[in-house]
């Protein structure tokens, strides 16, 4: 029976899941918006971020937030290397880039499986305990993800709106050729966008890692959720990722609690089909000229 307390719990669970999904999807949609690349390896950068934090924080005892920043920088550096070596030579050949992204996904997974093993690991949360009231139960580790996720979103919004590089990113996303004619170093912007997308994925993996578990294959379900979110919100749209993530999180939470796990998984895909029929570009996506 649906009570006010269970409704409150559904909303809280859904908002938390929504922020998880936004974190997974933000970098993915940024990379697509700028490079026109469906980055199948995005989940692997998410996984790399979680493992960097695991080693720095859980094994070497570094402060969690310092480890988080280090993971973002380290994975961004890997992103720079990958973009220059793998994707830059294939620029504008979208199908080739897509296949390279698939190959990259398998390669990173394979290397990590050899290095880290394939069994699940636990990344201890920097916060412990559970908030309980008559209405809701909310573990503090989830609260940390929601709080940190919102901070990341705000910082990203500020960066994209008010910095010169952010404006350059938006210009290239709108029209790469026009941006080039305006003197924007488009190749640098491509590399920067890929690196920032990878850093966002790493932050997502490192924040969500303590809530779930660590495994070298953890990027696959994250990529699937990121896909659903960006298609719901509109491929390449950052506000769309925010809206898509929250809609998916709340919807799944409601369906899982009321009708069970299977209906919740069906919900995401049924919603995509419905929204694409109604609005083929997604909720906040723009039709291309």
């Amino acid at each position: 029976m649906l009570t006010l307390a269970s409704l409150a719990q559904i909303v809280v669970n859904g908002l938390a899941a929504g922020v998880f999904y936004v974190l997974m999807a933000l970098g993915f949609t940024l990379i697509f918006g700028i490079l026109r690349l469906v980055n199948f390896a995005h989940g692997e950068f998410y996984m790399l971020g979680a493992f960097v934090v695991y080693h720095l924080y859980a094994q070497l005892g570094m402060n969690f937030f310092v480890a988080l920043a280090a993971a973002a920088v380290a994975v961004a550096a890997v992103g720079v290397l990958v973009e220059r070596v793998v994707f830059a030579p294939l620029r504008s050949r979208e199908l080739s880039m897509l296949m390279s992204a698939l190959g990259l996904q398998i390669a990173i997974q394979g290397i990590m499986a050899v290095v880290e093993g394939v069994e699940g690991l636990s990344l201890p949360s920097p916060v412990q305990g559970v908030y309980r009231s008559g209405w809701i139960t909310f573990p503090y580790d989830r609260l940390l993800v929601v709080g940190a996720g919102l901070v990341v979103l705000l910082l990203f919004y500020a960066f994209i709106t008010w910095t010169r590089l952010g404006q350059a990113l938006r210009a290239v996303a709108q029209d790469g050729d026009a941006a080039l004619m305006q003197g924007i170093p488009v190749n640098f912007v491509y590399t920067a966008a890929f690196a920032i997308g990878c850093a966002l994925a790493a932050i997502g993996g490192a924040l969500i890692g303590p809530v779930f578990s660590l495994q070298v294959y953890m990027g696959q379900p994250a990529l699937l959720k990121a896909f659903i979110v960006v298609i719901l919100g509109g491929l390449g749209s950052v506000p769309g990722a925010l809206v898509g993530g929250l809609v998916l999180g709340l919807g799944e939470s409601a369906f899982a609690t009321l009708f069970g796990g299977l209906t919740s998984d069906m919900f995401g895909f049924l919603m995509i089909m419905g929204i694409l029929l109604w609005k083929p570009t997604g909720l906040l996506g723009r039709a291309e000229a």
């Binding site: 269970s6 719990q9 559904i10 669970n13 859904g14 938390a16 899941a17 998880f20 394979g110 499986a113 093993g117 394939v118 069994e119 699940g120 690991l121 636990s122 201890p124 559970v130 309980r132 139960t137 573990p139 580790d141 989830r142 969500i208 809530v211 779930f212 578990s213 495994q215 294959y217 953890m218 696959q220 379900p221 994250a222 699937l224 799944e252 939470s253 369906f255 899982a256 609690t257 009321l258 069970g260 796990g261 299977l262 919740s264 998984d265």
Partner: protein, 392 residues
């Protein structure tokens, strides 16, 4: 002259006979041969831990036999050679591997594969070629009277759920209700039906059941519904160790105080690694006693050879490998028909862990299911503690 010739010839013959009698002829060296055993499993990707456990179990058993001089059949001393292929935990890979093993490598005994889908996929190829298969897999469809060459080494929840849950119900009489959460695939559904049957037999009522898609990481919404039904037990049999750890952790975080039970799918150490202190109190099925000296020695051998931890699934393939080699030794044949008939009539096999028997007539219509001894374990202070050994 003729007389002289006759006596010389006779003397030579007598001398030659005497020499032959005094100096025995050089002993004929036994011929050397090789018995090829095919192996199919997931040796890459998500199932690699289980797949390597299976392979390691079989190869260590083969190593024991080879180090002891091999198997003598007639005047040929044979060493065991394992030919392994990776099926990537999928049907097409398994069929390709089976075809290659049969047509190119010429094997008539295959150990594996790991999963239900690859197992069902190779059945047509192996049965039509009369290839003896000693498999893993969980599905009830793996064995039937129409598959006379297919055997299964790993017990499923159909075999151990009833004795496991029956023992727990007797020891913890306060447990009256249960919730079961399982993956939404063939394995998950079969496990759930076996567990429901076991709980019913033990007098425990299943108050709620739910499925989830593999790959789910956030179980809180589903667990919110389950915890609201206030079950005394949450059973997540059928889930991988990593998923089990996450379910356990997230259920405790949202305030569940009851008993967790985990049936099949060995990997308790991984559950403990993922769930940390939340894993304490978990009751589970364990195919081995990890604190037993013989098992510890086997783990050490595996880890030294493969540089990874030994998965408990491997014990069935170590014991099963020895059972197969023992059958070859006793029947003096590698023919699949001869071995099949021997195994079907075998009363028991004494392995490192104890007594193994063949069963499964009631569930599968054929006595091709290995029934193994097992242990009821409990996680105490982050360690595996065996509470009871249950023999078939």
């Amino acid at each position: 002259m003729r007389r002289w010739m006759r006596s010389v010839t006779l003397s030579c013959a007598v001398a030659a006979l005497a020499a032959w009698a005094v100096v025995p002829p050089a002993e004929a060296q036994p011929k050397k041969g090789e018995i090829k055993i095919g192996f199919i499993s997931a040796l890459s990707g998500a199932g690699i831990g289980w797949g390597m456990g299976m392979l390691g179990g079989l190869e260590l058993a083969a190593e024991d036999i080879n180090n002891a001089g091999g198997i003598k059949i007639g005047d040929t001393v044979n060493t065991i050679k394992v030919i392994a292929y990776d099926d990537k935990y999928g049907g097409p890979g398994a069929v390709q591997a089976a075809q290659r093993l049969i047509s190119q490598d010429g094997v008539n005994i295959i150990v594996g594969p790991l999963g239900s889908v690859p197992m069902l996929a190779i059945a047509d190829v192996t049965e039509s070629n009369k290839v003896l298969v000693l498999s893993n897999s969980y599905t009830t469809k793996a064995l039937s009277a129409k598959k006379p060459y297919t055997f299964r080494l790993t017990p499923t929840s159909a075999e151990f759920a009833t004795p496991l849950i029956g023992w727990i119900a007797k020891q913890r009489p306060k447990l009256k209700t249960a919730a079961i959460i399982s993956p939404n695939d063939e394995t998950g559904k079969e496990v759930m039906s076996h567990d429901e049957r076991a709980y019913e037999k033990a007098g425990i009522k299943v108050v709620i059941r739910d499925f989830y898609e593999r790959g789910t990481q956030d179980f809180v919404p589903v667990l919110t519904k389950i915890v609201a039904a206030k079950p005394d037990i949450i059973d997540f049999d059928g889930s991988t160790p990593a998923d089990s750890g996450v379910i356990l952790k997230q259920a405790r975080q949202i305030g569940y105080q009851g008993q967790f039970i985990k049936g099949g799918g060995p990997g308790t150490l991984e559950i403990i690694r993922v769930a940390g202190d939340f894993a304490n109190g978990l009751l589970y099925y364990s195919p081995w006693d990890p604190n037993d000296a013989k098992i510890k020695a086997l783990m050490a051998r595996f880890e030294a050879k493969y540089k990874m931890p030994f998965n408990a699934l491997g014990i069935f393939f170590y014991e099963g490998g020895h059972a197969l080699f023992d059958a070859i030794k006793k029947t003096q044949t590698t023919s699949s028909d001869g071995l099949r008939q021997f195994l079907e009539q075998q009363k028991e096999f004494q392995g490192v862990q104890g007594r193994y028997v063949w069963g499964g007539e009631a569930d599968y219509g054929i006595r091709h299911q290995w029934i193994a001894p097992f242990f009821v374990g409990e996680v105490q202070a982050g360690k595996e503690v065996m509470l009871m050994k249950i023999e078939p």
